[in-house]
Amino acid sequence: MTALISLSGINKTYASYHALRDVSLDIGAGEFFSLLGPSGCGKTTLLRTIAGFETPETGHLRIDGRDMLRVPANKRPTNMVFQSYAIFPHLSVAENVGFGLRRSGDNRAEKAARIDEALGMVGLSGYGDRAAHALSGGQRQRVALARALILKPKVLLLDEPLSALDKKMREQMQSELRRLQRQVGITFVLVTHDQEEALIMSDRIAVMFEGAIAQVDTPQGIYRAPRSQQVAAFIGMMNFLPGTVRSDGGQLLADIAGLGTIPLPGDLAATARLGAAQFGLRPESLSIMFGSDPLPTGLFSDGTVAERAYYGDMTYYDIDLPGGASPVTCSMKNLLSRPVLEPGSAVRVAWEPGALSLFQDV
């Protein structure tokens, strides 16, 4: 992978806090890359640094091999979709979309053709004459996209573009953004606080906390192998079970509260240290055994349903395990053959040791 955007050693401080801490990151050409983190983690500051709206105190930013930090925002090969969309309210849809062409030197007919093409790309053909302030939220978003893409930037920056939309519209725009990105082949950098959105849309994700990058990986990599407890807790749901790693006759054993003692799985053993640890287990790696299901593989524990949350397609059960510190959450698909269990029901839980994560944060 050749890096299109290359950030190194970026630091940015505001009067009272450190917004970016030594951020280094490579984003490849044609990637759909997400900056994911809770609000205030610096992801928007990082995006605005790439766009040229923030100037870091230290570090380097290269786009396509060119040093960018001294290049003003209006000369950078990036375009941005703002969180508020920033549609110019006094201009028509076509004037909004064509705004960036003012300095292109195209003649009137060429501009009109490019505007039509851009509007068609976002599914707004024929909307050119509408007044921009009369558009719905979803339409504004499309206008903002068309306006940014018409200049064929090397990088499209998206600052929480879907956060203002309702759930249905958001899901539709997620797949549409994905399709658009494949179609135009431009590098997309998306800022979002919604981990689900990042998982669905991205080729790679950078998870950020407190101005620093905690992990960069593919969605599967981040979900399956979170490098820290903080990342694991932020992405999806994870049960954290206290325990210890100890050695018995040359073999590493794990004592896990509620689940018992097991030989430490091979991939964890490579990096494990002796002593206290937190074990992580995703809810889908635990399953309640229903009589009608075929016998699952893995290990078994007996427990009691403490609480349940019914989601329609799934039910999430909190299960008390004897010796466990707190209930573990387990997600079950609601098959017709499975009754929805009430709190208090005695259950047998099967779980996969291979799905365990091990955190020994210092």
């Binding site: 209006n74 703002f82 920033a86 705004f99 940014a148």
Partner: protein, 266 residues
């Protein structure tokens, strides 16, 4: 509820009755300002056309008001833009000082200005009135323009820059059209205030009497009183017209931005 309605009526009557008397006596065919009315006449309006000193005063006032409207609106744009867009040390204090003339007793301002002009050696002319009026009008302009600038999404300007415009281009193409209704409202209000202002003009106008100063002078001559009433009627009508235009411009601006009307200056 009934009591409140009566209260409102009495309140409005108290506010506007004196002003309503202006046209009544302006059209009254008697030089004595008193009831009962003598009959209908437009004589006082035609008399206005025959007084050269009045014409000079009107022209002086129009000239002064025009310059004051432009200068204080320009100053207002700079202040409102700075307040909306930038953060700098002492910002709250500076904005407070700009707004201070709003609440300072005008007579104090007028005396202070007179002292300063005399000390500096500036002759009392239209220029000194303009300086005084700019001081008084600028806070009103800042208040109006602040509303216009504050309601703009800062991302609008960034979006224009992101799409290749320079800072000045973004201001000219995006910010200026969007605050234009505010600018028009500011021009009209500053113009109206300057036209009507008496105290500062009285102190610093020297020989270039403005219309209010001229009117004040005419009150010494009882036979001129009906003509003053006629002039007052015209001024009230013009003021109402200008302020209505200003408010319409502001509302149009709110609608054009598709925003919520949060109540304007009027």
């Amino acid at each position: 509820m009934r009591g409140l309605r009566v209260y409102t009526l009495v309140y409005l009557l108290f506010l506007y009755a004196p002003i309503l008397l202006l046209p009544v006596f302006a059209f009254n065919a008697s030089t004595v300002i008193a009831f009962p009315l003598a009959g209908f006449t437009t004589e006082w309006f035609t008399e206005l056309a025959t007084i050269p000193a009045l014409h000079t005063a009107v022209l002086t006032s129009l000239k002064i008001a025009g310059v004051v409207a432009v200068v204080s609106t320009l100053l207002g744009i700079c202040a409102a833009r700075a307040a909306a867009r930038y953060r700098f040390p002492g910002k709250a204090g500076i904005m407070g000082l700009i707004m201070l003339p709003l609440i300072l007793p005008e007579i104090i301002v007028a005396v202070a200005l007179l002292v300063v002009f005399l000390q500096v050696g500036l002759p009392l002319t239209s220029l000194t009135v303009i300086l005084g009026h700019v001081l008084i009008c600028t806070p009103f302009c800042v208040a109006i323009l602040n509303g216009a600038f504050q309601s703009l999404d800062p991302a609008l300007e960034e979006a224009a820059v992101d799409l290749g415009e320079t800072g000045w281009g973004a201001f000219r193409l995006i910010i200026l059209p969007l605050v234009m209704p505010g600018i028009i409202a500011s021009l009209l209000i500053a113009f109206t205030i300057s036209m009507d202002e008496f105290i500062v003009a009285f102190f610093v106008s020297g020989s270039d009497a403005t219309l209010p100063v001229y009117l004040w002078g005419q009150l010494r001559f009882p036979q001129r009183l009906p003509a003053v009433m006629a002039l007052g009627t015209i001024l009230v009508a013009a003021s109402v017209l200008l302020l209505t235009l200003a408010e319409l411009a502001r509302r149009r601006g709110v609608r054009r931005r598709g925003g919520q009307d949060t109540g304007g200056f009027l």
